[in-house]
C-alpha cells in the first residue's frame, strides 16, 4: 500500500518535472552537453548543426543522440557516413528524457536553413580567429599536463598518455592524446576542455575545479605540438610494444622460474613404485 502511494507520487513528480522542460531549457541543455563538440554555424569536433532538424527526421535525431553507435552498428547509411567523415569518432551517448530531447531539438530548429543562409556572412565573421601558439605556450602546456591545475583539478597525465620526449608516460585509463589534435582539431580541444562532456572529466573539472582559459590555451598548444612532432606510428606502435614486452617478459620470468627450480621435486617420490606396481597388475 505504502509503496503504491509512493509510486504514484513519483510518477506525478516526474510528470510535473517532465512537462516543465521548455525550449528555454533547450538552450541550457545544449550549452551544457553539446558545445564541447558542436557549434551552430561551424564545424568543430562534430558537424555543424545548422539546419539539422530539417536535414534529418525527428525520430532519427532522437535515436542518434541517445545512441549513435547502435545506429552505426545497425548499418544506418547516414549514421555510418557521419561516423566515417569524422575520423571514426563516435558521438557520446546522452540519456536525455523525451522532454529534454524535445527541448533541445526545439532549440536547434530555431537555427533552420533560412537562418543559416542569412547568418553565413555573420558566422564567417564571428568564426573565431585561428589560434596562435607560441613555444612558451607549448612549454607551459607540457608543464600543466603533468601537474595539477591551478583550481585543483587532477593532472591530465593521471589518465591520459601523450608520447612526448619531455613527458613522463601517462595513464592508460583514458584515450591516448598524442594525436588528438589531428583527430578533432585545436578548436575541438578547446571546446572539450572548456565544458568536458565525458562523465569522468566533467566530474573532475566541474565548478570550482574548472580550467582557466589560459590553461586551456596552453594545453591545446602542447597537444597540437605533440601531434605535429610525434611520428604517426608512435601511438599504435606503443600498444604493440607493450604486448611484445609483456609477453617476452612473461617468457623470461617463466624460464627463470624453470631454471631456478630446475631440481625441484616434480612428482611424488613414490611415482616409480606406484607405476611399476600398476604395470604388474
Amino acid at each position: 500500500m505504502k509503496s503504491w502511494k509512493m509510486m504514484c507520487w513519483a510518477v506525478a513528480a516526474a510528470l510535473i518535472i517532465g512537462t516543465g522542460v521548455s525550449a528555454q531549457d533547450g538552450a541550457e541543455i545544449f550549452k551544457k552537453n553539446c558545445t564541447a563538440c558542436h557549434k551552430i554555424g561551424a564545424r568543430l569536433v562534430g558537424p555543424d548543426l545548422t539546419g539539422v532538424t530539417e536535414k534529418r527526421s525527428d525520430e532519427w535525431l532522437r535515436k542518434f543522440i541517445r545512441s549513435s553507435s547502435s545506429l552505426i552498428k545497425a548499418g544506418d547509411p547516414d549514421a555510418v557516413a557521419i561516423f566515417n567523415e569524422f575520423n571514426g569518432t563516435p558521438m557520446l551517448e546522452f540519456q536525455f528524457s523525451d522532454a529534454e530531447l524535445t527541448a533541445v531539438l526545439g532549440y536547434l530548429s530555431g537555427f533552420g536553413a533560412q537562418a543559416a543562409k542569412t547568418d553565413t556572412a555573420a558566422a564567417a565573421k564571428a568564426a573565431e580567429p585561428a589560434l596562435v601558439f607560441t613555444d612558451a605556450d607549448v612549454e607551459q602546456g607540457r608543464a600543466i599536463f603533468q601537474h595539477s591545475m591551478s583550481a585543483g583539478g587532477p593532472a591530465c597525465v593521471t589518465c591520459h598518455n601523450v608520447s612526448d620526449a619531455g613527458l613522463i608516460p601517462g595513464g592508460l585509463l583514458a584515450k591516448d592524446l598524442t594525436h588528438v589534435a589531428g583527430r578533432i582539431g585545436d578548436q575541438g580541444i578547446v571546446g572539450i576542455l572548456g565544458a568536458p562532456p565525458f562523465p569522468a572529466m566533467a566530474a573532475a573539472y566541474n565548478g570550482s575545479a574548472a580550467l582557466t582559459e589560459k590553461e586551456v590555451h596552453a594545453i591545446t598548444a602542447f597537444l597540437v605540438h605533440a601531434d605535429k612532432n610525434t611520428a604517426a606510428t608512435a601511438e599504435v606502435g606503443g600498444k604493440n610494444t607493450m604486448l611484445i614486452w609483456g609477453f617476452g617478459g612473461l617468457v623470461v620470468i617463466l624460464l627463470g622460474v624453470a631454471l631456478t627450480w630446475a631440481r625441484r621435486l616434480k612428482r611424488s617420490v613414490r611415482h616409480d613404485i606406484d607405476a611399476r606396481q600398476l604395470r604388474t597388475i
Partner: protein, 497 residues
C-alpha cells in the same frame, strides 16, 4: 661450560618385535584428528626398507639436515638466502603420496547393502577427500619386507654396498630384516628450529623437548623439509605443522611417554643427559668419521663435581642431576657405549640412541643344495652377520664399520657371558676371548644384561620432576595470589576474589 639437561632415549632394537603398539598408542593419544590422520609421530619401519615417508633418508631428494661448511654447519635446504628464495615454493617438499593417503572403510555399506547374490564389501574411503580410493600404500606398507623389489631394494643405505653384495642379500636363505621404531630425536642441533622463518619452533630449556608453537606457526613448512628424519608434519586442516611432543604433559606429571609406556617388548628407555651447550657447533661440524665420538663427547659426566657445579649455576635442579646420574641412557650410551645415534651424518645431534640388532648368523647352501646353518659355536661371530656391516654402519655410525663391529662384539660378549652363567657349556677361554673382543668384563656384561632384560619400570624411565611450581614463577609472582583462592580463576568471579 654451559651445562643443560636433555631428555634422551634409547631403543633396544634386539628387543623390538615390530608390533606397532607404540605407533597406535601415539596415534590414539595425539594424531587421531582431522588433518593429522596421515601423521605417525611414532612409526616402526622394517629395515632394509624405504621407510615413511618413502626414502626419507635420501637427502639428495629432500635436502634435510646440515652440511659441513668449514668450521660450522649450514642447512642443506634452507638458510637465509636459499630460504627466502624458496619461501613461497619449497622445491624439496614431500607430498601426501610420499607419506600415504589415509583411509578408512565404508563399514556402513555392510549393513545397508540391499539383498543380493554377493557379500557386501566395505570399500576404502580417503580420509582427506572422502572419496573412494584405490589404496596404494600405508605407513608401513613394506612391513616384514613386503614388496621388497620396490622397497627393501631401494633402501638408501645400500649405497655403500656393491651390486653383487646387494644381490646376495636378497637370496632366499640369506634375507634378513629388523625393525626400526622412530620418533622425533629432539636433537641438540635441530634443523627444524633453524629453518623456521616464523621462529615458531623452539627447544624447551628445562628438558630440551623440541616443540612447535601452534600460534606462531605460519605454515611455511620449511621444517618439514629441513628435518632429515621427516618428523615434522604439516596438518592440512589447521594449516600448522606438528611434531612429536615427547608426551610432555605426561612427562611433567611423571609418566612415561605413551609410546614408551605401551611398548610390549620394553625396548624403550628414557632418562636425562647433561650436555655442554657450548660445544654444539663444534660437534655438529666435526669431520664425518669423528661424528659419533664427538657427539658422545658432548654428554658430560653427571657424577663429575665440576659438571654438577656448572649445572647448578645454570639453574638445573638437584632432582634433575640425580635423575641424570640414574639415567639408563647414560649407561647405554656413555658408560657401556652400546647405543648409537641414527644417521649422525645429518649433523643434528639426535638424542634418540639405538642398541643395534644382533642379526642371525649367515647360513649357507652347500653343493648338494642342503641348507646349513650350523656353525662351530653358537654365535659364529659378527663378521658372519647376515646384514653387511656397511649397512648397519650407514645407519648408526656414518659409515664407520670398525665402531659398529666393536658394539656388536660387546653385545655378543654379553650373550656369551650370560650363556656361561646359565648353561655353563662354554670353555673359560671362549668366554674370556669374547669379553676381551668386546672390551668388557663379566661384571659389566651382567649389568648390561640386567638393564636389557630385567629392568623395572622405574629403571627404564627415570623421569626428573618437572618443577612446574618453579616455572610458573617465571611467568607470575606467586606472592600476589598467595592465600587468595585454592585453584585460581581463569576469569575472575563477578563478586571479586
Amino acid at each position: 661450560m654451559n651445562i643443560r639437561s636433555q631428555i634422551s632415549m634409547v631403543f633396544h632394537l634386539d628387543k623390538c618385535i615390530g608390533c606397532h603398539t607404540c605407533s597406535i598408542a601415539c596415534k590414539n593419544v595425539w594424531t587421531d584428528r582431522k588433518g593429522a590422520e596421515y601423521m605417525w609421530w611414532n612409526n616402526v619401519e622394517t629395515k632394509p626398507g624405504t621407510g615413511y615417508p618413502t626414502k626419507w633418508e635420501d637427502q639428495e631428494i629432500y635436502k634435510g639436515g646440515w652440511d659441513k661448511n668449514g668450521d660450522t654447519v649450514s642447512l642443506r635446504g634452507a638458510g637465509k638466502l636459499r630460504g627466502l628464495k624458496n619461501i613461497f615454493h619449497n622445491p624439496n617438499m614431500p607430498v601426501l603420496e610420499d607419506y600415504y593417503e589415509p583411509w578408512t572403510y565404508k563399514y556402513s555399506d555392510l549393513f545397508t547393502a540391499p539383498e543380493g547374490n554377493d557379500q557386501p564389501t566395505a570399500r576404502p574411503v580417503s580420509l582427506v577427500t572422502g572419496e573412494h580410493i584405490d589404496v596404494k600404500a600405508g605407513p608401513n606398507w613394506d612391513d616384514d619386507l613386503g614388496g621388497s623389489p620396490d622397497y627393501a631394494r631401494k633402501d638408501v643405505n645400500f649405497k655403500a654396498l656393491t651390486p653383487s653384495e646387494q644381490e646376495s642379500l636378497f637370496q632366499l636363505e640369506q634375507m634378513t630384516m629388523f625393525y626400526l621404531p622412530r620418533i622425533c630425536n629432539h636433537c641438540l642441533n635441530p634443523a627444524c628450529v633453524a629453518s623456521c622463518p616464523s621462529g615458531a619452533i623452539y627447544k624447551r630449556g628445562e628438558d630440551g623437548i623440541v616443540l612447535i608453537n601452534q600460534e606462531r606457526c605460519r605454515a611455511w613448512r620449511m621444517c618439514v623439509t629441513a628435518c632429515p628424519y621427516k618428523k615434522s608434519y604439516y596438518n592440512w586442516n589447521t594449516g600448522k605443522s606438528e611434531k612429536c611432543i615427547l608426551c610432555y604433559p605426561r612427562l611433567e606429571s611423571g609418566q612415561a611417554p605413551a609410546c614408551m609406556h605401551s611398548c610390549v617388548g620394553r625396548i624403550r628407555y628414557l632418562g636425562v643427559m647433561l650436555y655442554d651447550a657450548d660445544r654444539i657447533e663444534q660437534v655438529a661440524s666435526a669431520p664425518e668419521r669423528d661424528l659419533v665420538d664427538a657427539q658422545l663427547g658432548i654428554y658430560v659426566d653427571p657424577f663429575d663435581e665440576n659438571v654438577i657445579k656448572a649445572a647448578k649455576a645454570n639453574g638445573i635442579a638437584d632432582s634433575t642431576i640425580r635423575a641424570a646420574q640414574l639415567s639408563p641412557v647414560w649407561k647405554f650410551v656413555k658408560q657401556w657405549g652400546i647405543a648409537l645415534p641414527l644417521h649422525p651424518e645429518f649433523r643434528t645431534i639426535p638424542n634418540l640412541f639405538y642398541v643395534p640388532p644382533m642379526l642371525p648368523a649367515m647360513a649357507s647352501v652347500d653343493a648338494d643344495g642342503v641348507y646349513d646353518s650350523h656353525t662351530e659355536s653358537l654365535w659364529a661371530g659378527i663378521e658372519k652377520s647376515r646384514l653387511p656391516m656397511q649397512y648397519l654402519a650407514s645407519l648408526f655410525t656414518a659409515g664407520d664399520t670398525e665402531r659398529m663391529k666393536l658394539v656388536l662384539k660387546k653385545l655378543l660378549a654379553v650373550k656369551i657371558s650370560r650363556r656361561n652363567t646359565t648353561v655353563g657349556d662354554l670353555s673359560a677361554k671362549e668366554v674370556a676371548d669374547a669379553l676381551e673382543g668386546g672390551r668388557t668384563n663379566a661384571k659389566e656384561a651382567d649389568a648390561i644384561f640386567r638393564l636389557t632384560s630385567l629392568a623395572t619400570f622405574e629403571e627404564r624411565f627415570v623421569i626428573p620432576p618437572a618443577h612446574r611450581e618453579e616455572s610458573i614463577e617465571m611467568l607470575e609472582d606467586t606472592g600476589d595470589v598467595k592465600g587468595n583462592t585454592g585453584f585460581g580463576f581463569k576469569l575472575k568471579p563477578a563478586r571479586g576474589l
